[in-house]
């Protein structure tokens, strides 16, 4: 168990520093580690836990707490959450104090933002496709994903309504 917690800590600390654009960008990498490499959960469980995190309030990053929970219980949840939050937070704290407040930093930030923006979009899309892929053989579920994407993209409907509709569609046996 200690070994497992160590792997979780190392993996998520690295992902913390790779998570350009936020935790959702690194979902495929979490999937690779938790499901493909270590087999600590199934693809189905991975998608379920992500769905649960979406249905809860708070920052999206807390999905890592659920992954930690599933992999190694309460200690796992604490380890993945701290590992995911601490490195990037320390970097932000010091970058903000030492670099970003300097005169001329704004120009560099603009360049870095412009450079990262397309990559972030690509990674977030990859995460969406990964999650949708869990239902690849279930045509009604794929239709449900497409409809939710279209509505959330094109309208200002609150995401909780869509999540509730998804739950109802599931219970009704549609997906």
């Amino acid at each position: 168990m200690i070994e497992r917690l160590g792997i979780l800590a190392a993996d998520f600390a690295m992902l913390s520093l790779l998570s350009v654009g936020g935790a959702v960008s690194v979902l495929p990498e979490m999937h690779r580690s938790l499901v493909d490499v270590h087999g600590w959960m199934s693809s189905r469980e991975f998608s379920d836990l992500f769905a649960l995190a979406q249905a809860a309030p708070g920052p999206n990053v807390l999905v890592v707490s659920l992954f930690g929970w599933q992999a190694a219980g309460m200690a796992g949840a604490v380890v993945t959450t701290l590992a995911m939050i601490l490195p990037s937070s320390l970097l932000t704290y010091y970058a903000d104090r030492l670099l970003w407040r300097r005169a001329g930093a704004a120009g560099w930030r603009e360049i870095i933002d412009n450079g990262l923006a397309p990559i972030t979009v690509g990674l977030v899309l990859a995460s969406g496709v990964l999650l949708a892929g869990a239902n690849i053989s279930n045509i009604p579920a794929m239709a449900c994903t497409a409809a939710a994407a279209l509505i959330a993209w094109r309208t200002r409907v609150h995401p909780l309504w869509l999540i509730a509709a998804g739950a109802l569609a599931g219970i009704a046996g549609i997906v």
Binding site: S88, I111, I119, G122, L160, A169
Partner: protein, 187 residues
């Protein structure tokens, strides 16, 4: 947008903690809009311009954006203590709630009705993430040939299944260099 004179400051790390706790609990699928409303309009700790500036500082760094924003705003007022208070405020209660969901999941995921509901919610959750990507793709930062870096990153992760560290090690320097040259060409 509040005029300069009408601005407030947080009185203590405790007040920071409380404010960030409140806004964290209101955010579903994206806390940033709630943060703007709470910090700029309600508490008036920042002007809209300052808020936008802090968000852009944080976007250039890895990590969950809203957590980074809480670190910067907290640090501005009470240094490391403030950063800890704001970051703790936004995470503590949602962390406990998410764990309670985890406990319920472990206990009830086998029930057919729960499994069915989760199947529906996970289908929707995938759609919400795709919608986030589509919205971000509309940004003016992507109206350039450099959007190709996004397509390449997507293909590398999604189709080729390359390790993320490798993809970023190649794509990030190239994309930032391209952004730098793009800037030089259009002063």
């Amino acid at each position: 947008m509040s005029p300069e004179g009408a601005r407030n400051v947080p009185r203590s790390p405790g007040e920071l903690f409380y404010a960030f706790m409140k806004l964290g609990l209101q955010g579903f699928g994206g806390v940033l809009p709630v943060a703007r409303h709470t910090l700029v309009d309600s508490y008036r700790w920042l002007s809209m311009d300052e808020f936008t500036d802090i968000v852009s500082r944080c976007q250039a760094l890895p990590g969950p954006n809203i957590v980074n924003v809480s670190i910067c705003i907290g640090a501005r007022h009470f240094g490391a203590r403030g950063a800890l208070a704001a970051c703790g405020g936004i995470l503590a209660v949602p962390f406990v709630m998410v764990l309670m969901l985890g406990v319920l999941y472990s206990g009830y995921a086998q029930l057919p009705a729960v499994a069915a509901a989760l199947r529906g919610v996970s289908a929707v959750a995938a759609g919400l993430i795709i919608a986030t990507a589509l919205r971000m793709a509309g940004s003016k930062r992507l109206r350039s040939w450099r959007a190709a870096f996004g397509i390449a990153a997507f293909a590398a992760v999604s189709v080729l299944r390359l390790p993320l560290a490798l993809v970023l090690a190649v794509a990030v320097p190239l994309s930032i260099a391209a952004a730098w040259f793009g800037r030089k060409a259009a002063p």
